[in-house]
Amino acid sequence: MKVHPARELAVALLLAALGALASGCAATAVKPWDRDLLAQKKMQFAPSPLQYSIDQHTYFSREGSTGGLNVGGGGCGCN
């Protein structure tokens, strides 16, 4: 009996994502001028691409998993 945790989680996490996204539509949603904290470099998923690259490389060479890549988003939302 093989269980694939990735597939099992797909539905649960998608529902969580929809919930989080719904929050973005609310009246209390973050205004463009309220992004002072989000604009800081440390508020990115991977603040240093170099360090991220080193980590991925180190773990890939000793473990059997890949993927789980961060995507863009957040930031100051300028221009």
Binding site: M1, R7, E8, D36, C76, C78, N79
Partner: protein, 189 residues
């Protein structure tokens, strides 16, 4: 959930295919929903006050007093919403200083409204990017809310009777020619 069981534990058979298909079907549905939401009406996509409408009134503190929009009637007013953490704002300040130099005596008043929550951050920015024009402070964002600022930075050109002549979100130093021409033309009328 089954995956939390230690490896080797007996697990009942699962209908993997069904769940996988459901997940795959949800992704495009999610994308479509988000796409629709982004194009939706006023509830989600606020646009700045339409050109031609009267600009909201504002009275804000400056470094040496206050600035009241009523007292600016009769002048062309360039209102710029900025913050210290906004990268394009760094590039807009030298251009605005130059604008003040060229058109200040031809009827242009620049009011740069700062939206930093931390006054010290704004002052640090001003020390690095000198502003010979009026700088006002709106830390609670009430004036930004009234102007329905869609992104940082956003600027408005107000006519002599306080009507909005032009609104622009974002700043690109390579694309200031059109704005330069508009301001020059408004000041000469």
């Amino acid at each position: 959930m089954a995956f939390l069981l230690p490896a080797g534990a007996i697990r009942p058979p699962r209908h993997r295919g069904r769940l996988a298909r459901l997940a795959v079907a949800l992704i495009p549905a999610l994308v479509a929903a988000l796409g629709a939401l982004s194009l939706a009406g006023p509830a989600f996509a606020k646009t700045p006050p339409a050109t031609g409408r009267k600009a909201p009134h504002f009275a804000l503190p400056t470094a040496h007093g206050t600035v009241d929009s009523d007292s600016l009637r009769g002048r062309i007013v360039y209102v710029d919403f900025w913050a210290s953490w906004c990268d394009p704002c760094r590039r807009s300040f030298p251009w605005m200083a130059d604008l003040h130099q060229r058109l200040g005596r031809h009827g242009l008043t620049i009011v740069a409204i700062n939206l930093d929550k931390d006054r010290k951050a704004a002052e640090k920015f001003l020390a690095e990017h000198p502003a010979p024009f009026t700088v006002a402070f709106d830390p609670e964002g009430k004036t930004a809310e009234a102007f329905q600022v869609p992104a940082m930075p956003t600027s408005f050109v107000l006519g002599r009777s306080g009507e909005i002549l032009h609104a622009q979100a974002g700043f690109d130093p390579a694309r200031t020619a059109a704005l330069d021409a508009l301001l020059k033309e408004a000041c000469s009328r």
